[in-house]
Symmetry: C2
Subunit: 250 residues, 2 copies
Amino acid sequence: MSDVITFYDIPSIKGISWSPNTWKTRLALNFKGIPYKTVWVEYPDIEALSKEIGAAPTGVKGDGSPSYTLPAIYDPKTKKAISDSQNIAEYLDATYPSTPTLFSAGTLTLQIAFQEAFTTAALGNLFAPLLQESGFILNERSAVYFRQTREATYGKKLEEFSPLGAVRDEHWKKTQAGFSTVAGWIQKSGGLYVMGDKASYADLSIAAWVLWVRQVRGASSADYQNILTWDSGFWGKYLAALDKYTTPDA
Amino acid sequence: MSDVITFYDIPSIKGISWSPNTWKTRLALNFKGIPYKTVWVEYPDIEALSKEIGAAPTGVKGDGSPSYTLPAIYDPKTKKAISDSQNIAEYLDATYPSTPTLFSAGTLTLQIAFQEAFTTAALGNLFAPLLQESGFILNERSAVYFRQTREATYGKKLEEFSPLGAVRDEHWKKTQAGFSTVAGWIQKSGGLYVMGDKASYADLSIAAWVLWVRQVRGASSADYQNILTWDSGFWGKYLAALDKYTTPDA
């Protein structure tokens, strides 16, 4: 296994992958059937790890210095480290052309825009409740770091992002409306998936966000089970069909 | 010509097509090489015309009653009237399968989402200045109707949507930033167009919005000429390549 791709992911106290952005990469690797090993990295260690393996920064901090995030991979075949889930997906298609295609010919730009449209339509009201709950499933060192950085960004306590009750209910109600819009788009494809009968990266990116709910709230939680019933059960069918790409999950 | 599609469009005082939504249909018909004749309809006559030809409403008014918009087409081949630019584009692909394809296999959902993402990224700040200027290029009856309905919707005078000076400049600055985001998406396709070397409906829908600027402000206006220079001239090249689909324009 020493010559397989190393996939750097963020652990939770449940011992499983949970971050929506790292799930995009895990799903992509599984979809393509590319072997890999997972290395778990706590939040405060991401920057040092990224510099060590030579993964490029993915953004800029408030003070103007580069910021580093996961997912990242290191591929011994090309001796390259790649960061950012979209970059990794494009790299995998380019480097392993004989594996199933994430972006079929001519659709890369469309799929990038699809993710933007999905984010605008469906995720705006999911961030607050899920960020809040994510803060409570991290190991100690990551939990401290996560709370500190998110509270600085949003200017309030994690517990205030989406308090249970009316505020939380409203977030979920708007999230459901957004998912309904997206279900309408997908149902025009003529098949179960965004591109019809064949899954593509657009589907994996949606699944990654719903896996965030499943891993953080639990598969048997009302929050997750409700999603499966939305749009007359469309989401349940859709996610069941994509579930095979969640394995291996660590 | 009596057996060709009738295309219902909204005239301007310049005697040309100008509405971004009807341009989508005109570009689609030209792209596919389907013969048609244009019938010009002033705003206050759209509802009666739509009912007369049997075109479905495209929305709901404030009072809950159905609202009617152009574009609409009547196709004597199928004896069907179709309204809504997206519906018309899908109808044309389905009914004329031997003409060039607007939505190549598997991309309908992606292209619908692309238009949503383009709207969010690039159009938010273009609406105010262009709606304002559109009000001044309509024939008398449409001008009165347009002013009345838009002022009721936005709660201010047409002249206040985007006054020349700091407000208008800010709208254009933000529009340019949005177009730059979209140029970044398109430039990942590996070709000049959204899907690479082949134009598709996504490109025509972008062109339709820029034609709104060209027809309302004029081809030699600074507003239009500036766009051509954005992103190191990308938009100039892109629109020049799509320009052949603007003919015939009436």
